[in-house]
């Protein structure tokens, strides 16, 4: 599935000592990853059509149906209903059909959700363009290969068209695959009205009530816009607008240097813009392994037309109007004092994403969201206000905030289907890879080095780090793309892989050998005997595993042994 992405990345808290109940959304650390995301209590959201309308519908509904609320129906219309047809819902639906469940999916907007329509998919189209532009513009690189290219140019309309076409192609693939398998696609906004009961309907039409044995909430997220920032969709934009590429500003400020910001900086600089990053934390790319982010900064930031302000919040952003440029007020993150004012042509707000869970009717089943996120246990079962599990109700993907990645949502959905069909399953989130599609790419799975060190100290084991360089890889050299690093964090005593981080050519495709190894519990002493074709980039990981020094001997039987503890 096309679920490689970066766009549904998490809104997470800045640091571990961040006060849980803080009132100020400004304090949020944006674009982090790999940690449980905390929500945002104050959401300034414009696209809340669903929220408002379904709220109206709901109040009506409650008065009408209080009588039978609380008593689950005896027979069901469906085995499984999924609210939200994004990548998570789609993955769950496909797996449910495979398991023989009668499945329906409710979607109020377009099939495909954020990833396909406003996230990973169209952004990959833009990044494909930016990658080529970058290559063609790099005279030095071309010369080294013996190529001659006269001035490279682009047509903005054409680039935007490519992104749009890709999204609609993937969307129709998704829709067709579900239709072909017999998944009912119910159109309208879904609201839970009681146990195992969902209402859906379009604005101005009568609502339909359907029942199901199990329900999965997969409503996803929307771009998070901090307070004080006025989004006009033209000069102050979110990723939703930026992906349409309606104009390429000369100078754009990107608020947030996580995945979304980084990828857009790649796109905009390749198309000729200059970029200013605004990052609330003290360093750029805060979610990445420090060594990787350092290298990435050297390659992706310093040589490009990019500057940055770290340790500052963009407390006020005014769109361009009345002959004035976009004005950004910067406030020091620590002293809260005004620090600087920027004047730019456009600003992209890439400060993370907020769950889209308002109007789901969660109060009907006594569930209270935490800053918008639906609380769940490790099996994605929804927890109500009293801390009890709500039977037959699950929540996957960005809406639960565990790991805001499209493929994580899909994996969670599959895990839920496994459970409702009688096989207990817990998804190991440490085996879910993540990637950032800059040029070159960044990818990772498992723990970062500081996280691993913390865990090692707490649990009393030793860790080691191994590294290999892309410079030593034949294929990378042939492509003249030797810039890159792969890093392995592991336990030397038993050979367990704790984390792998790659920065280099096609890193996003290379990570899966490591993520599969983690998922299957393969140890280094075993995987190092696996054979890689030569010459390929996969030898970077081959070298990496081989350079690890593990004390434990290779297992005699099958390399696949007991799974690694999550």
């Amino acid at each position: 599935m096309h679920s490689t992405l970066s766009f549904s990345r998490a809104t997470t808290v800045p640091t571990t000592n961040y006060a849980f109940h803080s009132q100020s959304p400004i304090n949020l650390r944006f674009c982090g990853l790999r940690r449980e995301a905390f929500g945002i209590s104050i959401l300034t959201r414009s696209s809340s059509g669903r929220v408002r309308l379904s709220t109206r519908g709901r109040s009506k509904r409650i008065s009408a149906s209080t009588g039978n609320n609380g008593t689950p129906p005896k027979s069901f219309d469906y085995d499984l209903i999924i609210i939200g047809a994004g990548v998570g819902g789609h993955g769950a639906a496909l797996h449910a059909v495979e398991k023989g469940l009668k499945t329906a999916i409710i979607e109020g907007d377009v099939v495909g959700g954020t990833c396909v329509n406003r996230g990973c998919v169209p952004s990959k189209a833009l990044l494909a363009v930016s990658g080529r532009m970058r290559e063609l513009q790099s005279e030095h690189h071309m010369k080294a290969l013996g190529l001659q290219v006269s001035a490279a140019g682009y047509d903005r309309q054409g680039v935007a068209g490519h992104a749009n076409n890709l999204a609609s192609k993937i969307r129709s693939n998704l829709t067709n695959s579900m239709k072909a398998l017999g998944v009912d696609i119910l159109t309208g906004f879904g609201t839970i009205v009681g146990p195992q009961k969902v209402k859906y309907g379009k604005v101005g039409f009568t609502d339909n009530i359907v029942t199901a044995k199990d329900i999965i909430i997969a409503t996803g997220s929307v771009p998070f816009v901090p307070k004080g920032i006025e989004v006009d969709g033209k000069t102050v934009i979110t990723s939703d607008h930026a992906l349409k590429l309606e104009f390429v500003p000369d100078w754009i400020a990107i608020v947030g240097s996580g995945y979304i910001g980084l990828e857009f900086s790649d796109v905009y600089t390749a198309l000729g813009s200059e970029v200013t990053f605004i990052e609330a934390l003290d360093q750029l790319m805060p979610g990445f392994d420090p060594e990787i982010s350092k290298l990435a900064q050297r390659v992706l930031i310093n040589p490009r037309k990019i500057d940055y302000h770290t340790g500052v919040f963009a407390t006020k952003i005014t769109p361009a109007r009345d002959g004035k440029p976009v004005i950004i007020e910067l406030t020091d993150a620590k002293t809260k004092e005004h620090k600087d004012t920027l004047e730019v042509d456009a600003a992209l707000i890439a400060t993370g994403r907020a769950p889209f869970t308002n109007g789901l009717g969660l109060e009907n089943i006594n569930v209270v969201t935490q800053r918008g996120f639906v609380p769940v246990d490790e099996r994605m079962r929804v927890i109500d206000a009293n801390g009890n599990l709500v039977p037959h109700l699950y929540c996957i993907g960005d809406a639960n905030g565990k790991m805001m990645l499209a493929h994580a949502a899909s994996a969670q959905g599959i895990s839920v289907v496994e459970q409702v069909t009688g096989r207990d399953h817990v998804l190991n989130h440490l085996s879910v890879p993540a990637a950032c599609f800059t040029h070159p790419e960044i990818s990772m799975v498992g723990l970062t080095e500081p996280q691993a060190r913390e865990k090692a100290e707490k649990e009393g084991f030793e860790i080691s780090v191994a590294k290999t360089s892309f410079k030593a890889n034949t294929k990378a050299q042939a492509e003249n793309e030797g810039e890159g690093l792969a890093k392995l964090i592991y336990r030397p005593d038993n050979g367990e892989i704790l984390g792998v981080h790659i920065f280099g050519l096609h890193a996003a495709d290379l990570i899966h050998e490591a993520s599969n190894a983690i998922a299957l519990g393969t140890r280094i002493q075993d995987i190092k005997f696996a054979v890689h074709a030569h010459p390929t980039l996969s030898e970077v990981l081959d070298e990496l595993f081989k350079s690890a020094k593990v004390k434990a001997p290779a297992s005699t039987s099958s390399p696949i042994s007991e799974p690694v503890a999550a």
Binding site: K305, E543, S547
Partner: protein
């Protein structure tokens, strides 16, 4: 059979050898690096000799720490003596407490591989004035094998960069100066200056006088003392990210640059112009025109291209560098030399125009608007004169008639553009023109307001100039130079004398696309429109 066998074995061997070569090389590096790192240098005071620790080179191409104390006059002790010596020093910890007051250290070009004799500075991770703490990487050095981060061992302030980005220095040469406290920056700078005097001529060395130690702070190296006052002024300098980078790279004082970008911001082109570089991008958008006297500015770049022919400067002359705008003018003028131009003049009777002007003047209509309107109406009938030749192979017919009008603003020249001048009526056009001029004075013209012109108008008539000829700005097909309207005695076909107001207009055009007959026909139309000026108000 045999061939099969052979082909199966060969790649395998090849693969082995290929994949192991790099790792052998790398391990070799790390060994050699070990030796190189133990180099150290003595400080001016004997107590301050410190043992330099080094980070274990995990992988040879990771982070390498290097920095050492400033050498006195003794030659640098290298490999052999350093190891035992430093080992001894490291034990004498009590001596370290006796720190010396002045701690200025040099950062050296480290030897990153066995074969490295010189290294290129890829980039300075830190810039001058940055506070460094032990273990932070300061500079990225490119050896013959790889790029490596070089760390500092000391807390301090990066007082000066001796070898700039992109420059190379031999192994062991000082590439930067580290001061321990702010008070020492000045002293360190002086040292850097004396260093750079030898290695890089680009950095202007302020004479390191013996008095430097006693005077609180010698003036900052490059800029004129006026620069800080500019910064404190009400208007803050806005420079784009790349402009800032370029300024740093080319040691341009950004405060002294006048921004020509939108909202008066400093663009990369401004920095390039200030640094005297030819812009990386072609046709940056500043279409600037200069009238009759371009000889002087045009001469400067031409002269710099051939310095041998430059006459010696007259004693007592002063050299004033171009402002950004003047540089842009100069550049455009030189560029114009590549276009084959010719000129056609035409006398136009302006009695009707003058009469009309008197009538509409109270309504805010200016002569510029009248002339622009007349030219636009004539251009509508002669689209070829409104076209341009971009590639030397084709005509580019412009769909809009945008009249650029040359305006002198203090110390420069800009061409605000009256867009769609043929479609707007006189009053709107005049209003528009007023706005544009105000914006131009405030340096707030948007790029499309000064670079979208398809035809240029230049009028020196108000100075009494009767005729002149203009230089064709790059990217346009023609420019019209308008002289003053003067009473002239004319004889008509019947031999009757009369006095009529006549002005001479002179059009310069690109002969690749616009031929003599085209221009003549255009001028005839223009003349008719002016002579029947009432049509301008329609």
């Amino acid at each position: 059979m045999q061939t099969q066998f052979g082909s199966a074995v060969f790649p395998r061997l090849l693969r082995r050898s290929l994949s192991y070569i790099p790792s052998i090389l790398y391990s070799l590096h790390s060994l050699l690096n070990l030796f190189h790192f133990f180099r150290f240098l003595s400080n001016s005071s004997p107590q301050s000799q410190k043992h330099k620790e080094m980070a274990s080179p995990f992988l040879s191409n990771t982070i390498i720490s290097f920095s050492s104390s400033l050498s006195s006059s003794s030659s640098l002790p290298r490999l052999a003596p350093s190891i035992p010596f430093s080992a001894i020093r490291s034990k004498s910890t009590p001596r370290r407490i006796l720190t010396v007051r002045s701690k200025i250290r040099e950062i050296f070009m480290p030897a990153l591989s066995s074969t490295m004799t010189e290294g290129k500075i890829v980039s300075w991770v830190k810039s001058e004035g940055d506070v460094l703490s032990k273990g932070e990487s300061v500079v990225v050095v490119e050896s013959d094998k790889a790029d490596m981060d070089v760390e500092t061992f000391y807390d301090g302030i990066l007082a000066a960069i001796v070898v700039g980005e992109g420059e190379t220095a031999p192994v062991g040469a000082a590439i930067g100066i580290l001061a321990e406290t702010e008070d020492e920056i000045a002293e360190a700078k002086a040292k850097a200056a004396s260093k750079s005097g030898a290695s890089t001529p680009s950095a202007p060395p302020p004479a390191p006088t013996p008095a430097a130690a006693s005077t609180p702070a010698p003036p900052k190296s490059t800029p004129a003392p006026a620069a800080p006052t500019v910064a404190e002024g009400p208007r803050k300098t806005v420079a784009t990210p790349y402009a800032k980078k370029l300024a740093k790279q080319h040691k341009v004082d950004i405060e002294s640059v006048v921004g020509t970008g939108p909202y008066g911001r400093i663009t990369p082109e401004d920095i390039e112009a200030a640094a005297g570089l030819s812009p990386s991008k072609k046709n940056v958008g500043l279409a600037v025109v200069v009238e009759t006297k371009p000889a002087a500015p045009a001469k400067a770049p031409a002269a710099s291209a051939a310095p041998s022919s430059l006459p010696p400067p007259v004693p007592g002359s002063t050299v004033v560098p171009f402002t950004t705008m003047q540089s842009a003018v100069s550049k455009n003028m030189v560029e114009s030399l590549s276009v084959p131009t010719f000129r056609v003049g035409y006398p136009v009777t302006t009695d009707a125009l003058d009469a009309l002007y008197e009538k509409v003047k109270p309504k805010g209509v200016t002569m510029t608007a009248l002339l622009a309107k007349a030219a636009a109406m004539a251009l509508a009938q002669h689209p070829v004169v409104n076209s341009s030749c971009k590639d030397g192979k084709s005509f580019t017919y412009n769909s809009n008639i945008n009249i650029a009008v040359a305006v002198a603003i203090n110390g420069g020249l800009i061409t605000p553009v009256l867009q769609d001048a043929d479609k707007l009526d006189l009053y709107l056009l005049s209003q528009k023109w007023k706005e544009l001029v105000e914006k131009a004075r405030a340096k707030q013209l948007q790029p499309q307001e000064y670079n979208s012109g398809t035809f240029t108008l230049s009028n020196l008539g108000m100075f009494g100039v009767d005729r002149f000829d203009a230089i064709l700005p790059p990217g346009q097909g023609a420019i019209m130079a308008v002289g003053a309207s003067k009473p002239t005695v004319v004889a008509d076909a019947d031999g009757f004398f009369s006095v009529k107001n006549k002005m001479l207009v002179n059009v310069t055009a690109d002969h690749r696309i616009i031929y003599g007959a085209d221009l003549a026909a255009f001028l005839q139309t223009f003349s008719k429109i002016v002579e029947n000026a009432e049509s301008l108000t329609l």
